[in-house]
Amino acid sequence: MSKLIRMDHTGHSTIAEWTPEDPAAVEAAVSAFRAELERGYLAMVSTGPGHAEHVRELPLEAELVIMRLPISGG
């Protein structure tokens, strides 16, 4: 089961869960993913120890997709 989570004031919230074999869940996850992008969140996927990638489309095969806010110099 893959998860789409968003880091927020609660620690993190699970926005969607899906398996590639469940088209309805995938569709809901894609919609939720796009909604988060429109809110200004960025999507990250861990790609091994010490590595992460920024993605613009929901990677259906990923186990965990994390939505984060942009960063800036302080």
Partner: protein, 292 residues
């Protein structure tokens, strides 16, 4: 998977040159020169005052104090990037959830270090990073680069993020594009790691020690700097003792040479001033005789 290699936030600072090993080296040297430019004039003024008038000791001491305080303030500014953010209230459950997610992103040792120090250790290609809530420190060779960087405060949701999430935001950005991360972040201080250590909170110091003993990720085509040392490697090598001794000797030689040159300059200035005073005195005498 549709991936983007450059950190998206870099677009907001498009005028900045992308940080790489050469850029870091340059910035480190600029910081060293800045420190020298701050310290040397004050020490020079103190020396000059003492040479000209020993009664000016209090003023000379103030100059020396300035020469000491200014670098310390810069180091404090660097250490401040690792200070935890002040919050009106910390709610335990979100904090625990955020730390749990952060723990899933890092290994056991980093998790344990975070629980002790509040900082996450992350080896990178540019060096070894220590990531806090509102900033990160890059350790590279003997130098520490302190970056002020945080979740964009213009985002309304940023204000209430728990500490673990703040670090996770920075960590994920760092992992996706290390050079972009260093480009987006504002450099608050660059200097010797021992200067940073003195200004860090005591409970955070073990993280600095752990980072110094952690090798960065291997980089193809390891670069050497002009002194032949490997950049990005720990300096705790057998040659560091000899290097330290040579540097101490060089410092002594520099101080002696500076003192000799200073005396020569004072002598020349005094001689010129004497000639000028004598000429003026002769002119004054001639003028006075003519008037009388």
């Amino acid at each position: 998977m549709a991936t983007i290699e450059v950190l998206p936030e870099v677009a907001a600072v498009h005028w900045r040159p992308r940080v790489d090993a050469d850029r870091l080296r340059l910035m480190g040297r600029v910081w060293t020169l800045t420190m020298v430019a701050h310290v040397v004039p004050f020490l020079g003024a103190a020396t000059l005052l003492m040479a000209v008038e020993p009664l000016a000791l209090p003023v000379a001491l103030i100059c020396v104090a300035h020469a000491w305080i200014i670098p310390e303030l810069y180091a404090q500014r660097g250490a401040n990037v690792l200070r935890p953010r002040r919050r009106a209230r910390r709610t335990p459950e979100p904090e625990q959830r955020s730390v749990g997610l952060l723990g899933d992103l890092v290994g056991h040792e980093a998790r344990e270090l975070h629980s002790r120090t509040g900082l996450v250790l992350e080896p990178g290609r540019l060096g070894v990073w220590l990531v806090g809530e509102a900033g990160a420190v890059l350790l590279r060779g003997r130098r520490a680069y302190c970056y002020c960087v945080k979740v964009d405060p213009r985002q309304a949701a940023a204000a209430e993020l728990p500490s673990g999430d703040r670090i996770a935001h920075l960590l994920l950005a760092l992992r996706s594009d290390e050079q972009g991360f260093a480009t987006v972040a504002n450099l608050a201080f660059a200097g010797a790691h021992w200067r940073l250590r003195r200004r860090m909170r005591k409970e955070m110091r073990p993280a600095l020690k752990a980072a110094r003993s952690t090798p960065g990720e291997p980089v193809s085509g390891v670069r050497r700097n002009i002194r032949g040392r490997l950049e990005g490697m720990s300096t705790s090598t057998p040659s560091s003792g000899a290097s330290l001794g040579r540097r101490a000797l060089a410092l002594i030689v520099l101080l002696i040479a500076a003192w000799v040159l200073f005396k020569v300059v004072i002598g020349v200035v005094t001689a010129v001033a004497t000639v000028v005073v004598v000429v003026l005195a002769i002119c004054a005498v001639i003028w006075a005789i003519r008037v009388l």
